[in-house]
Amino acid sequence: MHSDRASLGLKIAAITGLLFLHLPILLIFLYAFTTEEKSYQFPPPGLTLKWFGVAWGRDDIWPPLILSLEVAAIATVVAIILGTLVSAAMSRTKFFGREQISLLILLPIALPGVITGMALRSAFSVMDIPYSVWTIILGHATFCIVIVYNNAVARFRRISGGILEASSDLGANGFQTFRHVLLPNLGSALLAGGMLAFALSFDEVIVTTFTAGQQSTLPIWMLQELVRPRQRPVTNVVAIVVFMVTFLPILCAYYLTRDGDQTAGGGK
């Protein structure tokens, strides 16, 4: 039997499923206020605000935080440049090897992270490259390209070729068309792609453990705390920070690309 209204069972299953996806994260917030620092006792014996102060005062958190921000920022810039270039090439023309290139862009996130990580690790070992900030960035930028590419290529498809031709007809050269016509239309998609890339890089841990050597990004710091916990609520405070730094860009990216249908020339 088929009707236009969902059966009660389906509704309950769907909503339970969504709650299953969201409720666990709330616990991270709760445990940041607990007075119990040696175990994950539930319900918390008492609530306190002191862990935020303690986290702020801990010297071992700041360097990883700064390193993570630095890596994410540079990787994002590299990914935006490379992702935009390749999406411009892929969206306009058909050429030999196009399919292969799209596979090549996708591969770094389609294959498990441990492969990308181990591959980079092998390359560093073969070529005797010492670990540095740049080895981390190398890995991050590689899998961030596809994020920017996906956003940019979708927008390119919606921008009508007509407005670019109109711009040339009115006497603009390629650079002026790029600056005054293409970029304003592409901007929000690039911003959204960049934000997602930043979020992905900021919180990446699998590839990073292979490319960081002795350096510690914030996720690696967190991983160490998870394996050998010290002050557990402090880890929760850091987890909240990591969560917010990834959550806010994702939300922004969603709102930036949601109204994509209103791109100039898209009405045709």
Binding site: M1, D4, P24, I28, S39, P108, I115, I145
Partner: protein, 313 residues
């Protein structure tokens, strides 16, 4: 007034470059692609080549130094009982996680595709996107809190008078353990949770393409709900399910953080790679281990392609 010329006089270098690129579209294309291809080609493919190269080296058992000579010895080591164990365990876990994800994802995807409208549709979309993108480690950590022996699951089970049930589940041989956070079952639950959104999205996309008229036709022809599901919805949605399974399978196959934090110390492929390259310093064997998921995924992708999964992505 004189007629303006049809072709504007050029106003400098920028104009001349634009014109040259316009006349040579191939050169323009090459210019656009040069940097990205150089990056992906050198950094990524170069690294994969290095990985393959390392996997054909071997390690000297006495000195622990990598011998840079071609050999298949390292690959042969993969077939030792303990290493085969790791591979089988990982494959089994990936298959179970994929299956569970498909079952749990279906109602969410179906509801979002078929019944959610307007605000609800946006809510469902965000409701799946946010957990997909939000911090991986934070999500794993949340489950460590939940599954801990003194954590919320035990508290809730005891509060509901189900403590004996939890104990019975934990006493099961093979999947149980001291607490959920140190049992294979815990590992399984967390895998399912973390990769679930990757299954929902492609599934929803393919379900959205099932025409409502077909469901009506099935109902008109007297099919029951179950029959409609088996003979109409499932075959049409299958490419989406397979597309989703590529993610859940591949991601479980390579993950090494989750089994390290939640579960027994039993090793998975990812963990083996990580430990071999790190503390053990055996890069050749680590590389050979990393080749295993590549081969499995290549086989998987070939089958998926045959079944039309790529049209659903």
């Amino acid at each position: 007034m004189r007629d303006a010329p049809a072709i504007l006089p050029d106003r400098g270098l920028a104009d001349r470059i634009s014109a040259a690129l316009w006349r040579h579209p191939k050169a323009f294309l090459g210019l656009l692609l040069a940097l990205p291809l150089l990056w992906l080609g050198v950094v990524y493919l170069g690294s994969l080549a290095a990985l393959l190269l390392q996997s054909f080296y071997s390690i000297d058992e006495f000195s622990g130094v990598v011998k840079e000579e071609f050999t298949l010895k390292t690959y042969a080591e993969l077939f030792r009982a303990q290493n085969l164990d790791i591979i089988v365990r990982t494959l089994l876990m990936s298959a179970l996680v994929t299956l569970a994800c498909a079952v749990i994802a279906f109602p969410i995807a179906y509801f979002a595709a078929r019944y959610a409208k307007g605000r609800w549709k946006a809510l469902f979309y965000l409701g799946v996107m946010l957990p997909l993108w939000s911090s991986y480690l934070v999500k794993v950590y949340a489950w460590k809190l939940i599954l801990a022996k003194e954590g919320i699951v035990t508290w809730a089970a005891e509060g509901a008078g189900m403590g004996f049930f939890l104990d019975a589940v934990l006493a099961l041989p093979g999947v149980g353990g001291n607490s959920l956070s140190t049992s294979p079952m815990g590992t399984f639950i967390v895998f399912v949770y973390i990769w679930l959104p990757y299954m929902i999205l492609p599934m929803q996309a393919s379900l959205e393409r099932v025409p409502g008229s077909m469901l009506e036709a099935a109902a008109d022809l007297g099919a029951s709900g179950g029959q409609t599901f088996r003979t109409v919805i499932l075959p049409l949605a299958l490419p989406g399910v397979i597309a989703g399974s590529i993610f859940t399978f591949s991601l479980t196959l390579g993950d090494y953080i989750i089994p390290q934090i939640i579960g027994t110390s039993a090793r998975f492929i990812g963990l083996a790679v990580y430990q071999l390259q790190g503390t053990a310093g055996n890069i050749p064997l680590a590389a050979a281990f990393a080749v295993v998921p590549i081969i499995i995924m290549l086989i998987y992708l070939t089958i998926a392609k045959r079944m039309g999964a790529f049209d659903a992505l």
